[in-house]
């Protein structure tokens, strides 16, 4: 019996079979249990197929894991919070132990959040864990996306996974915003008021949508309950489902790796899931959890007891959304005053409509960039080797421009704090950021592109002539030369192996015509690849080694 099981699971090697007769009670139970499970769930097949999956080792490949682990922490802590939170806007008088709010009128949502903070054992810690983990979740998604973008890991066959990841980023923001609104404190109420204002800025349908969303005039009495359902039910369900698909896709497509000796588009070099990677990942989960708990135990987040209950009349100085919504708030702040039109007695609020157009456009560019790049290069091959950012100058430059654009919007959300902390006029800060919003990405684009070329040239130089050793030799003729230290083949591999694209030629199709799309594509391709540093070729290397 035992022998059969070990055969099907393949866990026991033939050489270990004679030991079966002498196994103890514990071992026999383990074998029985393993067999029991395997016969019913066919686990051995899974272990065989996926247990030996290889994961390459690089620190930047662990950022997605950080997002996954902080999501688990968010789910765990959030479940605890649901036990005590009341998603109701019914008015009540606070009667908990925080003195400066005693007897103050507030919603049940706010009162129960205060109770979680002050009267439920461990409540404040869990609340802070939940909020810090949520901030970390979105931040690690952001960093993970940047890694994937700048290494070109979104290329075929991973474009769909990029889209899924992008969807997760949007869902994470939606989760964050609904969660931020739930306590019904002054800060979150002001955030909702901004959303209400933006919705109402949409011509014709805006007012209707606002009344639908808030169940009447803002703030109404229904929005917290609705957001609660979205926050704990609908959005997490979609989020977790997509996370599952996202991770499975990584298994299916295998992980990308950086170029190196023995690494190609057709293999993956690294450690297997079982046992090394799984052990490392399991340990890493607890490290991430530990960092979150350490931060939550020592640093205040969202002190709703300072903000007080929501009341539509007061607005605090320094009212900002959580960081991941900051770029949208910043865009609103950057619109110059007076951007309004009056047509036939109707006011068209361009100051709201422009951000409402710019933000989705920016996000759409992020989402669909992989498809755009694939169209420009016309490259249908699988790419499992991650690029070094310098070896794709155009992509890196576009990415740098996008990061700058986002960063300026983000900074604008804290324009008032920049003004007070650096002793500047807030109007000056806003003007500078308005200029930077347009000029910054352009400057970043050209500077980054040039830096990439320079680094590629340096790589080329090193690949061909080796490192400068710093040793100066005087030749018999009196001439001084610096001795260059040649690279090992392993080091050189890293520098010379990257995809070299060339501008597409415009070619007539089978009817002998050149379509407009063809011309546009050729023009885009020229923009991308006309200026380029070609990788060192074998011939060049050989001719160099004869010197």
């Amino acid at each position: 019996m035992t022998v059969t099981v070990s055969d099907t699971t393949g866990t026991n090697r033939p050489g270990t079979e004679p030991a079966v007769a002498e196994v103890g009670r514990g071992m026999r139970f383990t074998n029985w249990a393993a067999g029991y499970v395997d016969e019913r769930f066919k686990l051995s097949g899974w272990v065989r197929d996926y247990g030996r999956k290889i994961f390459p080792d690089h620190w930047s490949f662990m950022l997605g894991e950080v997002a996954l682990y902080s999501l688990i922490v968010v789910l765990l802590s959030g479940t605890f919070l649901t036990f005590f939170f009341q998603a109701s806007m019914v008015e009540t008088h606070y009667d908990g132990s925080y003195v400066p709010l005693k007897g103050i009128q507030m919603s049940a949502a706010m009162a129960s959040t205060l109770d979680i903070s002050f009267d439920i054992r461990g409540g404040l810690l869990v609340r802070q864990i939940h909020h810090w983990a949520a901030l970390l979740f979105v931040a690690s998604i952001g960093l993970h996306m940047l890694r994937v973008f700048f290494t070109g890991a979104f290329r075929k066959p991973r474009e769909i996974n990029w889209l899924l990841g992008f969807t997760l980023f949007i869902l994470a923001m939606a989760e964050g915003f609904t969660g931020y609104s739930l306590p019904d404190d002054l800060l979150s109420g002001n955030g909702l008021r901004i959303i209400d204002g933006m919705v109402k800025g949409v011509p014709v349908i805006g007012t209707w949508i606002s009344y639908l969303l808030f169940g009447g005039e803002f703030p109404g009495t229904t929005v917290i309950g609705m957001f609660y359902s979205l926050h704990i039910l609908l959005l997490p369900a979609i989020l977790v489902a997509i996370v599952g698909v996202h991770v499975i896709m990584v298994f299916v497509n295998k992980h990308t790796q950086y170029a190196g000796p023995g690494r190609s588009n057709d293999n993956v070099v690294g450690v297997p899931v079982m046992p090394v990677f799984a052990a490392k990942a399991g340990g890493f989960f607890f490290i991430v959890f530990g960092v979150i708990v350490l931060v939550a135990a020592t640093v205040t987040i969202n002190p709703i007891w300072n903000y007080g209950p929501y009341d539509p009349s007061p607005v605090s100085a320094g009212t900002q959304p959580d960081w991941y919504i900051g770029f949208a708030d910043g865009m609103l702040r950057l619109i110059p005053p007076g951007w309004e039109l009056e047509i036939l007695g109707f006011t068209l609020s361009l100051n709201i409509l422009v951000p409402l157009l710019v933000l989705p456009l920016f996000l759409a560019l992020v989402a669909f960039y992989p498809f755009f790049e694939a169209w420009v290069t016309g490259d249908k091959r699988h790419h499992n080797i991650a690029d070094r950012p310098r070896n794709a100058p155009m992509r890196t430059a576009i990415g740098a421009a996008g990061v700058t654009f986002y960063a300026v919007m983000w900074a604008a959300a804290s324009s008032d704090l920049i003004a007070t902390h650096f002793k500047l006029a807030v109007e000056g800060v806003t003007l500078a950021l308005q200029i930077l919003l347009i000029a910054g990405p352009i400057i970043a684009f050209f500077v980054t592109r040039r830096i990439c070329f320079a680094l590629q040239k340096k790589d080329r130089e090193i690949a061909l002539h080796g490192y400068e050793s710093g040793r100066i030799v005087r030749l018999p003729g009196g001439q001084y030369v610096e001795v260059h230290q040649p690279l090992s083949d392993y080091e050189r591999w890293r520098l010379v192996s990257y995809t070299d694209y060339q501008p597409l030629m415009v070619r007539p199709d089978k009817h002998g015509r050149i379509s407009v799309a063809q011309r546009v594509r050729a023009a885009a391709s020229r923009l991308f690849f006309e200026d380029r540093i070609a990788p060192v070729t074998k011939t060049e290397l050989e001719s160099q080694s004869h010197h």
Binding site: P100, I104, L136, V291, T300, S316, Q320
Partner: protein, 261 residues
Amino acid sequence: MPRSRRTGRRSPLASVALLVIGLLTTGGAYALVTSSATASTTSASATTAEEGEKLFMANCASCHGIGAVGTTDAPSLVGVGAAAVDFQVGTGRMPMAASGPQAEAKPVQFTDEQVKALAAYVATLGEGPAIPADEFLTGEGDVALGAELFRINCAMCHNVAGAGGALTEGKFAPDLKDVDPAHVYEAMVTGPQNMPVFNDLNITPEEKADIIAYLEYLNDHPSPGGLDLGGLGPVSEGLFVWIFALGAIVAVTVWLTAKSN
């Protein structure tokens, strides 16, 4: 012995007379001393204002003008009251170091007596808000009402946590942490810099005392959640999570994937 004494030269009325003389002497002396004390207080107040005038002439008149009637550089101080002087000079805002968007708090340039002397002098120029009585500055009051009043009246400039905020053209509402209760009260009644005046009809002295009680509560009770990151809300939280939390985790990932040399 006693009997011979009683029949001696002391008459039965002697003790009564002695008592009367004693009472008269003590009472008279007391009256004399008390009246002279009153006189010296009055003269001290007069000298304080005089002292204040001298200080004013030496330190303030170059901008505020002789007799504090104002010049093109600075406003008249007639009628601003002692509270305004105690606030502006007592927090170091006056005398200003340089022209700027607004007078900034800096180390106080005068001793407490000198500040009071200046305040007394300016108070003689015209009726204005007086330095508040100690009963409103104890920090005892309805903290919850004070907090609510603070959120409604103060938070839009000073931030809900009293951390301060930006105003236009480089002006700002300052951080209220550890500000002297008297200065908070005086600021409310005099409206320094860009601050509006909250007079006693708008916010009664008792309500001002409640607001002070709330601010004192914030001073005495550190944030229940740990470090408060300056009370600046989501901006400092976002920076913290990116720099410290994610920074620490990235450091760990580098460590986990490091190759042994």
